[in-house]
């Protein structure tokens, strides 16, 4: 059997939503960063799926780009995500040194 596009997109939405839930509900910054990765990967999955279903080896039905364009997008997103994770973990380290804790509830300096 072949996976339909709808099923793929449901999976994407599920992964993305789990990520959103994790970002919003978790207190531990490490878990939040992990949830953020989930959100990014949900989107990646969606891009790959669209690429698989809409772009033939001969070119896009929509705009004529090659089959590899969606994969390239995903790789760029992965690279950016890696950079983001590096920055986020660095901030996490600084936060931990400051408060001896990785709980996001401690960081309320922007309170109005």
């Amino acid at each position: 059997m072949t996976l339909s596009l709808d099923l793929c997109l449901y999976l994407c939405a599920a992964v993305f939503s789990i990520g959103v839930y994790g970002v919003l509900s978790r207190q531990n910054i490490i878990v939040i960063l992990m949830s953020l990765e989930l959100m990014l990967n949900g989107v990646n999955l969606a891009i790959i799926s669209f690429g698989r279903y809409f772009i033939t080896p001969e070119g896009s039905a929509l705009s004529g780009t090659g089959a590899s364009s969606s994969q390239i997008f995903v790789i760029i997103v992965l690279a950016i995500a890696a950079a983001e994770a590096a920055v986020g973990l660095a901030i996490l380290l600084a936060v931990y040194r400051r408060w001896r804790s990785a709980r996001i509830g401690n960081m309320r300096l922007l309170k109005g």
Partner: protein
């Protein structure tokens, strides 16, 4: 440039600049010299210009045009000065009397901390007055008109530390403003009717103005004249204006500024001739003012207030003459009045000076032995004011009465006006010599009488400490006294209006009647106040006497009526505006309201900023969902 008339207003103006800007550094002596010299220069140029006018035919004039002053669309006002016979006479009076008063002021104001300021204001006044007089168009005249009003305000409130002085200055300014509004509207109306502001052009186009337009123009201009020249109903500021230094009262509020209303009428004489209805109003108001002010002058105790009401009364005479169309006769009285009233004011100033600023006549008396010079000179002024035969006032006043009596012009209630004028002449002689009796005769009351009024600052002064005033104050008085004696022999009416035809019959009998009336008034006053004071006391304690005295001394309650009818309602309106518009709408709603609204909104919005990152992320999510929903909905999904 074949003449120098531009220097006539310019010299005093330069004096104002120098004295006003540098006066404190120059020292009093230099200030006095600059102040007097600038006016003396203006006087000299006035004389030489006047002689040029005089030498040629009567309708020649000197003119100087300095180009366009105001240009807007087809409206154009030039800055031009003109000296003809009328403005020449006025220039001579203004600069001549002004010079004498400047000289007098050097003595009177000696030691005052505002010496330079005083002379700066006086010079500014001279400049404004001379522009008023020499202007060749009515807009430029209005510039001078406002200038003299400003100087009047500044000089009434010259001793600005006294609240009464300041409020008197404000009163003068506000009342004048009412008149000025009329004058300004009159100028607009003239522009609408003639399309020109120049006096010569207006006079030429009189025939083209239809009579309702002429009526309203003249009425509006007369309102302006009423304000400046203190006629009913706008005379109330002039008596209060006596709060200023006495030379100011003499120069501005007796000799020159207050006569500018008469000058305005004389300048636009042909225009007023085209509006006989207004002339009747002018003559009636003049006569009524003359009578009312004379009645009030009866019971005043302040030496300057008597003279102030007398000035109002004499101005009434001038308007009576102007209302008859005899403008030259009015100007004749302006000139003689300038002489003898300046003399009286300066004499009163000398008395006040000698008594260390005592103005209450109840604390004077018997001063003729201590102040023989002042007494003699004051007596001459009093005789001239009373119209004693052969003095200046005798001729000019009888000329007016004669004009009223003899059928010059076509004014309606001629007989009544003449009778009022004659009655006023009698009253004038009486109150003048009441004053002289109270001040110079009898026994001295200054040391014994307890403080008569709260206003008089002076304390009891022994009679033997009363001294004559310095020479600088006496010489101007002597000059003015000789002018008051001889000024009546000037044939000003025939000089100004060469074609004037005043009927000759009845002239001699008029003079005789006038003389008799004047002598009767003088004799009655002297007899009552010196020989029969008991009879006076008896009369004043009787019921009608009490009523009459009360009406007169309370000035017929005119100030109180104005207070109730005009000032109170305006005050209430101002309060309403203040509390409703200013306090409620502007302060509370707009100013505080906008601030309070912004801050209340801020209080609400700050709750969103709780500092917790997940909250921000949740809002971010909600926003993203919202945008998504809107996009989908807009796409038709």
């Amino acid at each position: 440039m074949d003449n120098w008339i531009f220097l006539i207003p310019l010299l005093p103006f330069l004096g104002f600049l120098v004295n006003g800007l540098l006066g404190r550094r120059l020292g009093d002596r230099a200030v006095a010299i600059i102040g007097c010299a600038s006016v003396a220069g203006a006087f000299a140029i006035s004389v030489s210009s006047f002689l040029q006018v005089d030498a040629a035919k009567p309708d020649t004039f000197l003119k100087q045009d300095f180009g366009t002053w105001i240009q807007a669309g087809d409206l154009s006002v030039s800055f031009g000065l003109v000296i003809d016979s009328l403005s020449g006479v006025m220039c001579l009076v203004v600069t001549g009397v002004g010079l004498l008063i400047h000289v007098y002021s050097t003595g009177y104001m000696k030691g005052d901390s505002g010496y330079a300021r005083f002379f700066a204001y006086l010079n500014l006044f001279m400049a404004s007055m001379l522009i008023l007089v020499t202007a060749d168009n009515i807009v430029l005249m209005f510039l001078g008109w406002e200038g003299v009003g400003l100087c009047s305000y500044l000089l009434i409130g010259f001793w600005y530390k006294g609240l009464a002085n300041c409020s008197a200055g404000i009163k003068a300014f506000v009342v004048n403003r009412i008149g000025d509004l009329g004058f300004l509207l009159g100028i607009f109306a003239i522009w609408a009717a003639c399309g020109s502001f120049e006096f010569s052009a207006i006079v030429e186009k009189v025939a083209e103005i239809d009579s309702p337009a002429a009526f309203w123009i003249c009425l509006l201009l007369f309102v302006g004249a009423c304000g400046k020249s203190a006629q009913i109903p706008l005379y109330v500021w002039l008596p209060d204006a006596m709060a200023g230094p006495t030379p100011v009262s003499a120069l501005i509020h007796a000799a020159t500024m207050v006569t500018s209303g008469v000058y305005l009428l004389a300048r636009l004489g042909p225009l007023f001739d085209a509006a006989p209805g207004v002339l009747t109003i002018v003559a009636t108001i003049g006569a009524l003012t003359a009578l009312l002010a004379a009645l009030i002058a009866f019971s005043q105790n302040d030496i300057k207030k008597v003279l102030a009401y007398s000035t109002v009364s004499q101005l009434g005479y001038m308007f009576l003459a102007a209302g008859m169309g005899a403008y030259s006769v009015a100007i004749f009285h302006v000139v003689t009045h300038a002489f003898f009233k300046a003399l009286l004011f300066l004499g009163a100033g000398a008395v006040i000076h000698s008594l260390h600023h005592e103005q209450d006549m109840r604390r004077m008396g018997g001063l003729r032995r201590r102040l023989p010079w002042t007494f003699a000179l004051y007596l001459i002024g009093g005789l001239a004011l009373s119209g004693f035969p052969l003095t200046a006032g005798f001729f000019s006043k009888d000329e007016i009465l004669h004009v009223a009596h003899s059928g010059f012009g076509n004014i309606g209630p001629r007989g009544v006006l003449w009778a009022i004028g004659l009655l006023t002449a009698l009253l004038t002689a009486f109150y003048t010599f009441r004053q002289i009796a109270l001040v110079f005769f009898g026994s001295y009351r200054g040391a014994s009488e307890p403080q008569a009024s709260e206003e008089s600052a002076a304390h009891g002064l022994e009679l033997d400490k009363v001294k004559e005033s310095p020479l600088s104050m006496r010489i101007p008085l002597i000059v003015l006294a000789s002018l008051s004696l001889a000024g009546g022999f000037l044939a000003i009416p025939h000089f100004l209006q060469p074609g004037i035809e005043i009927p000759e019959d009845g002239k001699l009998s008029g003079l005789i009647i006038g003389g008799i009336v004047s002598i009767t008034g003088i004799a009655a006053a002297l007899a009552i106040y010196l020989r029969f004071p008991r009879a006076l006391k008896g009369f004043l304690s009787s019921a009608p006497g009490k009523l009459a005295h009360r009406l007169s001394s309370r000035k017929f309650y005119v100030d109180e009526i104005y207070q109730k009818l005009i000032i109170r309602p305006i005050g209430v309106m101002a309060e309403i505006c203040f509390y409703v518009v200013d306090r409620l709408i502007i302060d509370i709603l707009l100013v505080h309201g906008s601030g309070f609204g912004a801050s209340a909104l801020g209080h609400l919005l700050r709750r969103l900023q709780d500092g917790r990152t997940p909250t921000y992320a949740a809002w971010f999510l909600a926003g993203a969902i919202l945008v998504l929903a809107v996009t989908l909905w807009a796409a038709g999904g």
